[in-house]
């Protein structure tokens, strides 16, 4: 796994992409793995120690995958938080939050598209909350016509249908 530790400038730039949610600080060391995945490492190894380790061992994971840097259709860079990135930064998230009802929550965990009865006021990426408003349950994107919500739940976090 290719790893690149983000310097101060790159880290600042990345965090600025999350400002619309109210996020302005990430304490952990940020590491880019592959082309687009951003991971947060809270451990006590120095940058040099991490790189030394990487030179001698095949590293298959480091820290927590918190976000993905993606380029949209218009060539604009966007940041998509992972469900675990959302959990890490939950105390800072104040804007662009959508709360689902119970029925929608069930569909969400099956990774199905959510249809809104009324057009949503929100656009683009949103932090999704459970019907009881206790938990952030993932990151989603509202369609351009603001009538649907698409989720980015990884397979392992979806509710499985039991086959006996």
């Amino acid at each position: 796994m290719k790893i690149q530790i983000l310097d101060k400038t790159k880290k600042k730039k990345l965090i600025s992409g999350l400002e619309e949610f109210g996020i302005n600080k990430i304490q952990e060391l940020l590491i880019r793995t592959g082309k687009e995945r951003i991971r947060a490492y809270s451990g006590n190894l120095s940058k040099e120690e991490i790189m030394d380790l990487w030179r001698i061992l095949p590293i298959e994971g480091i820290g927590l995958y918190i976000a993905k840097e993606i380029i949209d259709k218009d060539g604009k860079k966007e940041i998509r938080l992972s469900i675990d990135g959302l959990h890490l930064l939950k105390d800072q998230i104040k804007n662009n939050i959508i709360t689902l009802n119970e029925k929608q929550e069930k569909e969400w965990f099956k990774s199905n598209k959510i249809d809104f009865e009324r057009q949503s006021k929100l656009k683009g990426f949103v932090a999704v909350k459970s019907s009881d408003e206790k938990d952030f349950i993932g990151f989603g994107k509202i369609s351009q016509d603001q009538k649907n919500l698409f989720g980015y739940l990884p397979k392992e976090r979806r509710r499985k249908t039991m086959v006996l």
Binding site: G43, N44, I56, E60, L64, H87, D135, I137, L164
Partner: protein, 356 residues
Amino acid sequence: MLAFLKMTMSTNDYSNYLKEKFPPKENFVKRMEKLLGEVEAKKFFEISYTQTPNSIRCNTLKILPDELKKRLEFYGWEIKQPYNEFPEVMIITNKIFPGELGNSKEHLLGYFYVQEISSMLPMLALQPKNGEIILDLCASPGSKTTQAAAMMENKGTIIANEVNMGRISILNSNLERCGVMNTIVTRKDGVALCNLLLKKSQIRFDKILVDAPCSGEGTLRKSPKTFQMWNENMIKKIASTQKKLAESAIRLLKVNGEMIYSTCTLAPEENEFIINHLKEKFDIKIEKIILPLKSRHGICKWEGENLSKEVENCLRLYPQDNNTDGFFIAKIKKISEKEKDEKYTKNIQNILLNTL
């Protein structure tokens, strides 16, 4: 198939079905009788055809045990916290459907880990702390790594190693679900990883867990197929791998550092014999382990061989003692870097024998 039978059959019928389908091999019965005596061996085999209770570990990186308990009780689950000093350990006492735990919102969000109680014990014995550097040599699926990260409050560093790529995906997925941030996952054969770190890196560990691959005699309740697979040659073969793993790991331990060697098997060749070998080769102390459940001490005599008295400090957990899986745990403290050269020792022994 077994999940379907578990759900549709009464406890007794299911147990009888397993007994018929997976009878123990004669040699296995004889060995267990030698180890435990006839009465206890009978209890061992009796419980081996029943299911373990559903146990979970609250992931304190994401939620407090009291809050989780409240949420789970809302589903109608009866939750017991059997150990006051470890409120994160929980047992669901009522019957639940297969998959019900894994499909709950709290599981999908990483608020708890489905983990058998015996498998929680190595980390409870090792007590990893905030700021320490830990090696988990055979880490997948990640139950113990996630437990360590929670105990360390995501501080310090864990190097979690696994050799198999498929198992690494499972490990990574569990680490992410549980919000673990202080871990570096590596893919290397355990012995090769230790040798590489020893030669090419300055990193030495405060604590190491070697939860070695084993013949699985302790997990018959979970995987009755082990009854069919069991054979003495397999034990000998695995013991040789375990010995190499444990030896290599000890060299990476700081002086005064601690290592847990654990297996989910009860064969002395895979347990006390490995520890005895380490005791002969390295300057180490086998420490006593205190845990809040019934356990038995390590055995010092097996098949005519006498082992170091210190090996008694190891801990054996039989399924019939606490209604768990079977497990073996040894806690080793490294006293100094001294290491006996086996060839040198053997030569000296030969010279002494010849002179006598």
